[in-house]
């Protein structure tokens, strides 16, 4: 990980740790993000993403370690209006229209975007006059995004920003984020979707059990975690027995083989190679499906040697 001067002026997390009782939510995390980077923090639930984000925002006090944002403490950066974002939970206050709410938040920032522009970018203009308690889940999420945009901060912190948003909404959301990033803003978002991290981040920081387990360009991380699974129906040939998986496990590129009667599941590091061999050695194979392995499985593989305490969910 590059700790250049530029990164030092950006967001720097140094040996950051936080426990809740016996649960080590975040364990000695080091991370440097340069101004202008778009970084995805990717990990399953309980990986420590939200706790990390909250420490960066100054909402949670670390047990040890430090956070600096553009050379300032989180509290100083927040007070200077350098930070804006969407927390994971956060309903909107009631009895205001969308426009009034966005205006109210804009008024506390030193350099807000024009309210109309922020509302247009977030796609809330058409229900701008509606009261905040009369919105759907997706609309609420868009308003929360409008609030983040209108703040016009140097750093956008987005904790699972597209939860509850439909496909169309997601596309618009990420288009706006890209526009913001193109202006040189730093964007950090937490997600548990590899596709989202891969498509929209320059860099992916992979977290599991409170640690950073991988950190690098999106393509590199994707290759690391994108094992594939081949499912097929293969009739049991002869007296070998239904549980005999040895010939399957011996196929090139296979890391694990399971057989349940005729149903076969192969976990592969190189599914192309496996598939070619599978078809030549088991010509009776049918109903073949190739799918990306779930991110959860990928995390398990990456953190399998990390057994110094029990895996527990933080929230």
């Amino acid at each position: 990980m590059a700790t250049t001067n530029a990164a030092r002026a950006g967001i720097v997390l140094s040996r950051l740790s936080k426990s809740y009782g016996n649960v080590h939510a975040v364990r000695s995390v080091d991370l440097a993000i340069a101004p202008g980077e778009t970084v995805a923090i990717l990990g399953p639930n309980g990986a420590g993403k939200t706790t990390t984000i909250e420490m960066v925002l100054g909402l949670t006090r670390p047990d040890s370690g430090t956070v600096t944002l553009f050379g300032k403490s989180p509290a100083q950066a927040v007070a200077a209006g350098a930070v804006g974002g969407m927390l994971q939970t956060g309903a909107l206050v009631e009895y205001l229209s969308v426009r009034e709410l966005v205006t109210m938040v804009a008024s506390v920032y030193p350099r807000p975007l024009p309210v109309e522009q922020a509302m247009r970018l977030a796609g809330v203009t058409e229900f701008a006059e509606r009261r905040t308690n009369k919105l759907s889940g997706g609309q609420t999420q868009r308003v929360r995004f409008a609030i983040a945009l209108v703040s016009n901060p140097d750093l956008f912190m987005l904790d699972e920003p597209t939860a509850a948003v439909d496909v169309e909404g997601r596309r618009e959301f990420w288009a706006s984020i890209r526009a913001v990033a193109a202006e040189g803003k730093t964007v950090i978002f937490a997600t548990h979707y590899l596709e989202e991290a891969d498509a929209y981040a320059d860099r992916i920081v992979l977290m599991a059990r409170g640690r950073i387990v991988a950190d690098g360009p999106a393509t590199e991380i994707k290759a690391k975690v994108s094992g594939r699974i081949i499912r097929a129906t293969i009739p049991v040939a002869g007296p070998a027995g239904p549980a005999d998986t040895a010939p399957l496990a011996a196929l090139p590129g296979v890391t694990n083989a399971e057989r349940h009667g005729e149903a076969v599941i192969l976990t592969c590091a190189d599914s192309d190679l496996t598939l070619r061999a599978l078809l030549s050695r088991f010509p009776a194979a049918r109903d073949i499906e190739v799918a990306g392995a779930g991110i959860e499985e990928a995390f398990m593989a990456l953190t399998a040697d990390d057994n110094d305490d029990e895996l527990e969910k933080v929230r």
């Binding site: 100054g58 909402l59 927040v78 200077a80 009895y95 205001l96 109210m104 938040v105």
Partner: protein, 243 residues
């Protein structure tokens, strides 16, 4: 910086919550109109009952009006809004000021409605009298405003409504709002005289003539304020975790 836009929307959204506002204002007003009109020709403690009861209901109503702010704060915390605002540059000072202004506006509305109801029942006070009562109430309410904010950051949304009712009733009872003094001498009376609600009742009684608000009143209110404000600030600063 004064953040006028933020303040404006804080006030607006609180006063648009008409159900909450109605429930806060209705109780003292309805009690006053019902009991006051039935007893409008009765003399109580040497003054006309409607005058006496107006000051009593003003004490009860304004206390409830400012303490009930805790329920709104507790709800904002429960929904995560408070945390959302904490990652903005909004200073804690401005946040508190807005809560205080909203509380006082609710109290002021309570006083105005009770004054109108009192006038309708034949209460006549010189302008000087109205202003004195108003001024003393604004001062006497300070500890209750702060208490509302403190509780709002300390307890959950469910407990807030109950706490409001319980605390208002207790303070009202001990302070002598209901026309019955638990004690008029001895150590219990000394304790009662250390309560801000006792002095709020005394503030109301300045309207009845022959009563004034001694230095002791100022001292008690100041002492409660000096204790509660740092406590509220501390609780607010600590209260950043997920609810």
């Amino acid at each position: 910086m004064t953040y006028p836009v933020y303040l404006r929307y804080e006030v607006l959204r609180n006063f648009r919550n008409w159900r909450f506002l109605f429930l806060t204002l209705a109780l003292p007003l309805v009690l006053y109109l019902l009991i006051g009109s039935v007893n409008r020709h009765v003399q109580f403690e040497h003054v006309a009952f409607p005058v006496y009861f107006m000051t009593a209901m003003a004490t009860l109503g304004t206390m409830a009006a400012v303490i009930s702010g805790c329920a709104i704060i507790a709800t904002e915390r429960a929904t995560g809004w408070t945390r959302q605002m904490r990652i903005t540059p909004l200073p804690a000072r401005t946040y508190f000021r807005a809560k205080v202004v909203v509380g006082y506006l609710r109290a002021l509305l309570t006083l105005v409605l009770l004054a109108l109801a009192g006038t309708a029942l034949g209460v006549r006070l010189p302008a000087q009298g109205w202003l004195t009562v108003l001024g003393l109430f604004l001062v006497g309410l300070i500890p209750f405003v702060v208490l509302g904010i403190l509780l709002g950051h300390l307890i959950g949304a469910d407990a807030a409504a109950l706490a409001t009712g319980g605390i208002v009733t207790l303070f009202a009872l001990l302070g002598g709002v209901y026309g019955v003094q638990v004690a008029t001498s001895g150590p219990v009376f000394q304790i009662i005289k250390a309560l801000p609600s006792y002095w709020l009742v005394q503030a109301g009684k300045t309207a009845l003539g022959g009563h004034d608000w001694p230095a002791e009143g100022w001292i008690v209110i100041a002492a409660w304020t000096v204790v509660l404000v740092p406590l509220a600030v501390r609780v607010y600063r600590r209260d950043t975790s997920r609810v």
